[in-house]
Amino acid sequence: MSIPNQVDMYKRRKRRTAKNKLFHALFFAATTIGLIVLVMLIYRVLSQGMGSLSWDFIRNFAAPYPEEAGLLAGIIGSLYLMVIVALCSIIIGIATAIYLEEYAKKGRLTSFIQMNIQNLAGVPSVVFGLLGLTFFVYVLDFGYSLLTGGLTMSLLVLPIIVVASQEALRSVPGELKEASAAMGASKWQTIFRVILPAALPGMVTGSILALSRAIGETAPLLIVGAATAIYSLPDSALDSYTVMPIQIYSWISKPGDEWPLLAAAGIIILLIILLIMNAIAVYIRNKFQRRY
């Protein structure tokens, strides 16, 4: 191999630097596209919705006239729904994750379950709506109620919570489990006193993110019969209900120039609630993050 002379080296170096710059610019452009879309989206929503945003908008029920209509039923409905979803899916999800990570023998059955949970996390939400319709509405006869909607949503986010909790459990160093087991702790004592405290921040963060996915979902709730316009708050879990995204969806599809503006105002409220939930998740993650 001959050593290239100085001129060649110089040319080559120039070419390499140019190539580097080109790719730098390309990647930056790709990032910018996403940002531009986001900024446009927020700008459009804000410019359309800010005008309709008022306390009355949050306090009022749906109404036949846009100037009187409000999001109250949707906000409260969404909050109730979240309570049901949180109770069902977080408890079952974390318990499932603990079983799979700590108790289940690694074998064909476990990896089969594992694979299916991961697949479930990717199933389109409409499919969960159909499942909810068949099972909760018809088989269990819960009707088109808040309970049906909550349970359907729980199924939707359950796999996400299981996977996130498993990640959190796996990140607990094995040495800590060994240290506990070597002192004669039973498996449950080790889980309760060592593993859970270390894994909880990750689990909570994952669960909140899963809940914020549920709060924005529309499709499955349309199928299990959330009402589009409702003039009272649900009295019980078996009452009819509506949620924010459904109200927004129904306003957008109404004729007239003012309804879409109202929908934009609804989107702002939804975004604010989502941001708050994500902020809580980030806060918990940062506050309780441990170093090992």
Binding site: K177, A181, M183, G184
Partner: protein
């Protein structure tokens, strides 16, 4: 998953005159990780209130062996064993034998210091708490005594509430020893306890181990032959999963019976 060999009935094992009782009687122990055999036919007695060192090159099975004594090796799910280990006359592989009880009596200190992400106090109190001691007064006494026995009390007595991760590596390892002492075991297994420590911390831990011999039986795995020679009463030399030689430390290091032992301790391999 444990398969038990039938007890040998007629073959009386010749007993050497022993001045001390055995805490562990290991008989024909074989161990497999899946299809790979890691221990071959180990038979040895570990005496009470002595320090038994286990030496050998990497991968010779010494860590596996020590982890078998408190069945920690079963944390790896594919492990299979045959043969028997009697701890105080009872076979620890018997189906009814409680691993939790065994590990309460046979404590362990690991290679890498592994304190919990809790306060110093809570680390030491962990063991007593899981065994049902709840009263603050009782716990206080145990924590102080354990930390004193582990020669750490003077360094940490003013900051028991601080996180254990703030301690140095050597202090963390002595904390782990204190944590182990707090459950009042009979035997302490140490798996290369000084390999992650600096020379001064190593010295402190070695002194500590010497002092603990009065009350405890200690089995210590070490990479460091000088360490074995310095602190132990008996030494076992493992090679490729076999127990090559097991005798008094002085004898093994000055006048080994086996050629392979001699090669190893004179640094010809390993």
């Amino acid at each position: 998953m444990t398969t038990l060999a039938k007890p040998v009935v007629n073959k009386q094992v010749e007993k050497k005159p022993m001045e001390k009782n055995s805490v562990f009687e290991v008989t024909n122990l074989n161990l497999w990780y899946g299809a790979d055999q890691a221990l071959y036919d180990i038979t040895m007695n570990i005496a009470e209130n002595e320090i038994t060192a286990i030496i050998g090159p990497s991968g010779c099975g010494k860590s596996t062996f020590i982890k078998t004594l408190n069945r920690m090796v079963e944390m790896v799910p594919i492990v299979k064993t045959s043969g028997s280990i009697k701890y105080n006359e009872e076979n620890i592989f018997d189906s009814g034998y409680s691993v939790e009880d065994l590990r309460t009596k046979v404590g362990m200190v690991f290679q890498k210091p592994n304190p919990f992400p809790k306060s110093i106090y809570d680390n030491v109190a962990y063991g007593p708490r899981i065994h049902g001691i709840k009263k603050k007064k009782d716990l206080d006494i145990i924590v102080e005594k354990s930390l004193k026995d582990a020669a750490l009390w003077e360094e940490v007595k003013d900051r028991l509430g601080e996180n254990a991760y703030g301690l140095s590596g050597g202090q963390q390892q002595r904390l782990c020893i204190a944590r182990c002492l707090a459950i009042e075991p009979d035997v302490i297994l140490m798996d290369e306890p000084t390999s992650a420590l600096d020379p001064i911390s190593t010295l402190k831990v070695e002194e500590l181990v010497q002092n603990l011999r009065e009350k405890y039986s200690i089995v210590i795995v070490t990479h460091n032959m000088q360490q074995a020679a310095r602190i132990s009463d008996k030494t076992a030399f493992f090679l490729n999963g076999e127990l090559v030689e097991f005798s008094d430390t002085n004898h093994l290091f000055s006048n080994p019976d086996d050629k392979r032992t001699e090669d190893y301790i004179t640094g010809r391999f390993g």
